[in-house]
Each structure stands twice: as structure tokens, then as C-alpha cells.
């Protein structure tokens, strides 16, 4: 457990497409337990259809587009710094079983559960009374 199972990547690793559109790096919480890791990412304004989660080799990428419909005749009069797109990549350790990833999206917060491979999970061995 001493090694880091998830490594956040610097911005340069994000795909070329991401560099064309102003892109924000979402904030994340990551917690590891004995059977896997759980990752929460803040993605306000991203609906389920606009979210893409990809695993390529040992790289997990989260990409989401912000969809805020603007109705007819609406003029923006005040806007704070905001990117219409979120993207972030992580490098996953081999201990993690990417086939077992589960994702949930609730009010702009993505929850990803990535289990560890069976062999990477600690085993409890019961000592039999002899």
C-alpha cells in the first residue's frame, strides 16, 4: 500500500483536442481502502450524456462538456472565469481492475469506484486451532 495507486498527470498529458477549447481541471477527492479506490470529481454543469470516462492502458481520462442552454434574447452581463469543458487524466497502478470500474453522477459530482485485483487485496487467514 506504500506506492501510490493513482497518479495525477500534468496538464501537458491532456489530449490535443482539450487544448483547443478552454478546459478546466476538475477538483477531485481520492480515497483508497483495502478493496479499491473511490474518486469524486466536481463537474458542475455536466450532464450524464456529456460525460466521457475512458481507460486506455493505465490511463484513466475524465472529460465532460458543460451544457448550459441559453434562451432567446439572453445577454450575459456578468461572467466569472469558467471553462466550457473539464478534462483530467490519471495514471492507474496495475493493482487496479479497470474492468470493474463503476461510475455515478449526481448533481455535478462524479463518483468512480475502481476495485483492486483479487491478488492485490489483503487476505485474512484464519488460524485453525490445532
Amino acid at each position: 500500500m506504500a506506492e501510490t495507486n493513482v497518479t495525477t498527470r500534468p496538464g501537458s498529458e491532456v489530449t490535443a483536442q482539450a487544448q483547443r477549447v478552454p478546459t478546466a481541471v476538475p477538483r477531485v477527492d481520492i480515497i483508497e481502502d483495502q478493496t479499491g479506490i473511490t474518486l469524486w470529481a466536481d463537474l458542475p454543469g455536466v450532464s450524464r450524456d456529456a460525460l466521457e470516462i475512458k481507460v486506455e492502458g493505465d490511463t484513466l481520462t475524465i472529460e465532460g462538456n458543460v451544457s448550459l442552454p441559453v434562451s432567446e434574447g439572453m445577454e450575459p452581463i456578468y461572467a466569472e472565469v469558467r471553462a466550457p469543458r473539464y478534462a483530467r487524466s490519471f495514471t492507474l497502478s496495475r493493482d487496479l481492475d479497470t474492468a470493474g470500474i463503476q461510475a455515478k453522477l449526481n448533481q455535478g459530482v462524479l463518483e468512480l469506484r475502481i476495485p483492486k485485483h483479487q491478488q492485490a487485496q489483503p487476505k485474512r487467514i484464519t488460524v485453525q486451532a490445532g
Partner: protein, 168 residues
């Protein structure tokens, strides 16, 4: 020669003032978006896990980005507040300001976890946004979807745009 130098100096002074004014405006906006999250008292948190680290200093900050749109009839304010329950959001109009209060709850208690990375802020927060025109607060509508709070505020009669025909 000296007059040229003086002109140049005063020009420099002006652009410096412009720069400072720009900074001041940027700072004021950013200071509004940067919102303080006040965690609940430890005693309230019955199920708090000892494995989770307390955020440094007990207070976290997060940027809640806000946009204001305007139509002839209304203002529409959108604020990015991910991960709340509708019931934990409170919106009111007070002295020409839109005040948003809420609480982002930490729901990690059941996980017997080891800390890896914590970047999100949790706890109670309040954000006030100055409204550019008077509004009818009693007719305001709020909607919370995909972590974005959208508030529609009909303009007060006095604030509506009226076209005045020029008489020949």
C-alpha cells in the same frame, strides 16, 4: 525635452492607474467567487471517520463561479455548486443582493479509507451576488440541476427596458 519626459511620465502614471483599476475589479470579482466553506463542529459529526483527515485549519475555500444573464423581463443567475441536495440550498434577495446559502455534506463516513487526495471543500457556505437592477423577489424561481443552481428573477417594473418612440 523636459516636457516630453513629463508627458511620458504622466502617461505612465495613467496606464499604471488603469492597470491597478483592472486589478482591483478582477480582485473584487474573484473575492466574490472565492467562497469560504465552514465545516460543521466536530461534535455534530456523529459518524465522522477518524481515518479522514480534517481539512487544514478547519476551513476550506472553493470557487463558486457565477454568471448573470439579462433579458428585457428578467435576470438569470447561474452558480456552480456541485454535489448538494436541493434541501440544503437556501436562496433569498436582500438589499439588492442575491444571497445563496448551503451546505455540502461529506458522505464518506462508511468508507474505511486511507486518505489519498482531498481537493474539494465541504461544509456550510454563503455567497452574495450584487444584482444590477431591482427585482421582484417574491416571483423568483430557482432550479438545481447537474450541480448548477439557476435562479430566475423577474425585473421590477421600474427596471424594465421601455422603448420610447420619438415623436415627429
Amino acid at each position: 525635452m523636459s516636457s516630453v519626459l513629463e508627458q511620458w511620465k504622466s502617461g505612465l502614471g495613467q496606464s499604471w492607474e488603469h492597470l491597478m483599476e483592472g486589478w482591483r475589479q478582477l480582485w473584487e470579482r474573484a473575492a466574490g467567487a472565492l467562497t469560504r466553506f465552514q465545516p460543521r463542529e466536530r461534535n455534530d459529526e456523529k459518524s465522522a471517520s477518524p481515518n479522514l483527515p480534517a481539512p487544514a485549519g478547519g476551513v476550506r475555500w472553493a470557487v463558486l463561479g457565477a454568471d448573470i444573464y439579462e433579458t428585457d423581463e428578467a435576470l438569470e443567475v447561474r452558480v456552480e455548486i456541485p454535489g448538494l441536495d436541493r434541501e440544503d440550498l437556501e436562496v433569498e434577495v436582500l438589499d439588492g443582493q442575491l444571497v445563496i446559502r448551503g451546505e455540502k455534506r461529506l458522505e464518506r463516513e462508511e468508507k474505511q479509507g486511507q486518505y489519498r487526495l482531498m481537493q474539494c471543500a465541504y461544509g456550510r457556505f454563503q455567497r452574495a451576488i450584487a444584482l444590477p437592477v431591482p427585482v421582484k423577489a417574491e416571483e423568483a424561481k430557482a432550479e438545481y440541476r447537474d450541480g448548477v443552481l439557476k435562479i430566475t428573477l423577474p425585473k421590477a417594473e421600474t427596471a424594465k427596458t421601455r422603448r420610447i418612440a420619438v415623436q415627429g
